[in-house]
């Protein structure tokens, strides 16, 4: 896919990273799979322009130099933010008591465009080629709205279109005394740590206490050596709400 794209400008992208993701010096222009991102200096300003199947966005930035970072972000922003929770729904897996299994799921990629430098970034744009869908985990009274991800289950990393999908390696451990059918995993977006290389990826763990109760968390280490950690949208909001390290699934781990 990277062979079909075009680019110009200064780019600090490593060659093993997927072609769209990376850090770019202004001005630059890149085109990939129907997506065009361009920045050009106009006096004291920088004009940012993005064209994707979902539409065209133009922004005027109050600086004329520096870098722009493009990387996968927490997939809960489109078409508008209504939740910070993501729910993976997959083919049920029977887990033996006191056993662990690692499965590979896919998640939708939303692409974030940031300006700024270490520790102080701002989000300029977010877009995606993946089709968003939302769902409800729990009851309307006490549950949560979730970004719904319908995914297959693989025993090894599945092939993905890097612009649309990333890979989640999920280690599921059944700590209970009964067999449990697991078909859901729910995470809060502030805890997500997405890494990117040839594609976007995350590693997570899930502790199953019973068919009703489970706990999930995302690990902070790259799933594969050499992957870069993506800039997250959550810290740019500078929220005082603390990041919870794990999510307690109180409404069941199966259908």
């Amino acid at each position: 896919m990277s062979g079909t794209g075009s680019r110009s400008g200064i780019c600090s992208r490593r060659p093993d990273l997927f072609s769209v993701f990376g850090r770019y010096g202004i001005p630059f222009r890149l085109g990939e799979s129907g997506i065009t991102v361009e920045t050009r200096a106009e006096g004291q300003f920088t004009l940012y322009e993005r064209v994707a199947p979902s539409g065209r966005v133009e922004r005027r930035l109050g600086f004329s130099g520096g870098t722009i970072t493009i990387n996968p972000v927490e997939p809960v922003n489109l078409p508008q933010e209504v939740t910070n929770t993501i729910e993976f729904h997959f083919t049920p897996i029977a887990i033996e008591p006191l056993s662990e299994v690692t499965v590979f799921l896919t998640f939708p990629v939303e692409i974030g465009v940031f300006s700024g430098s270490e520790g102080s970034y701002t989000l300029i744009d977010v877009f995606s080629l993946a089709k968003p869908k939302y769902s409800l985990y729990g009851t309307p009274e006490k549950g949560v709205i979730t970004r719904h991800v319908e995914t297959g289950v693989s025993h090894e990393p599945p092939p993905v279109d890097p612009l649309q999908e990333g890979i989640l390696a999920l280690a599921i451990r059944n700590t209970g005394k009964d067999w449990v059918w697991v078909s859901r995993a729910v995470f809060e977006s502030p805890s997500l740590r997405i890494f990117y290389g040839p594609h976007a990826a995350m590693s997570a763990e899930m502790m199953v206490y019973s068919r009703i109760l489970g706990e999930t968390w995302v690990t902070r280490t790259p799933p594969r050596e050499g992957m870069e950690e993506a800039i997250r949208i959550f810290p740019t909001k500078k929220s005082l709400v603390p990041e919870k390290p794990s999510y307690l699934m109180e409404y069941g781990v199966g259908d």
């Binding site: 209504v82 939740t83 769902s135 985990y137 309307p140 009274e141 709205i145």
Partner: protein
């Protein structure tokens, strides 16, 4: 002369000078609370939800003023224990004098504790519908959908039926769509289901439901039940209805006007007379 007059007792042992110092102290404390409020708003406006920030600022302002007034009170040489007794008596008298106010105050406390709504929620209280702007101790401020300011006394809020449209994270709405008897209901249902699957905010779970509900006089009625996030349900509702209408029409499925099929018995005669001499049909 001026200084002498300041030292004249005006209430008990409290002098004019004491009153002046107390007034200045309260004014300074008020100014400090305002400065702190502005600083807090500047520092946290992009980090904290505006409603929560507003509450936080008010609590801190109140705390500063209470501490400031308390610190200035010794100027009066007032015994706090006496003040509590006097305050209690005054409170009792005030309660009798202003039962409505006390009732509103009590109701306000219950509403704040029970939390049937919060600022920003879309509600109907009695006959008033709109968005909750503020929940105060004595009254609740509603901004109607027309942008009108309505102050509802808390006593009325407490005794009225409150419908909160966004208290739950998701809510259901429905359409009744009539298609003609000549159209294929199964095709119509398939088209509607496909549109619902495509819309991001038509929730996957609980899944939407589409079915033939009744065979009415002029149309086959298809009912559509949709769950959507409460925050966006209205835009989904308005958007989907028109999308469904257009898609059905594009597929050649007729949404009929009310109509009646009249069958004329063989050999029957119909006579139509035109008022302006247009002739007869027999």
């Amino acid at each position: 002369m001026v200084f002498e007059s300041l030292s004249i007792p005006v209430i008990g042992t409290v002098t004019l000078f004491d009153l002046l110092v107390f007034a200045i102290a309260v004014f300074v404390v008020y100014i400090i609370s305002r400065i702190v409020a502005i600083y807090l708003k500047k520092a946290f406006s992009d980090r904290v939800d505006p409603v929560e920030l507003d509450k936080l600022v008010k609590v801190i302002q109140a705390a500063i003023i209470i501490v400031g007034v308390y610190a200035a009170l010794p100027r009066f040489d007032i015994n706090i224990a006496d003040m509590v007794v006097v305050g209690g008596t005054i409170g009792l008298v005030a309660a009798f004098a202003g039962q409505r106010i006390v009732s509103n105050f009590g109701s306000g406390l219950f509403i704040i504790a029970e939390r049937p709504m919060k600022p920003g929620d879309n509600v109907t209280i009695g006959e008033v519908s709109g968005t909750v702007d503020q929940i105060r101790v004595l009254s609740t401020i509603i901004k109607t959908y027309e942008g009108v300011y309505v102050r509802v006394p808390n006593e009325k809020v407490f005794t009225s039926e409150i419908t909160n449209y966004v208290a739950n994270v998701a809510r259901r709405f429905e359409y009744s769509i009539g298609i003609s008897y000549r159209s294929d209901a199964e095709t119509a249902i398939r088209i509607i289901r496909s549109l619902l699957e495509d819309h991001p905010f038509v929730l996957a779970h609980p899944a939407p439901s589409v079915f033939v509900d009744s065979l009415a006089e002029s149309a086959v009625i298809i009912r559509v039940f949709i769950w959507a996030p409460s925050r966006v349900w209205w835009s989904v509702r308005t958007e989907m209805l028109w999308t469904i209408k257009k898609a059905l029409e594009e597929a050649g499925i007729e949404i009929p006007y009310p109509q009646r099929v009249v069958t004329i018995a063989p050999g029957a005669r119909i006579e139509v007379s035109h008022a302006h001499g247009g002739g007869d049909i027999r």
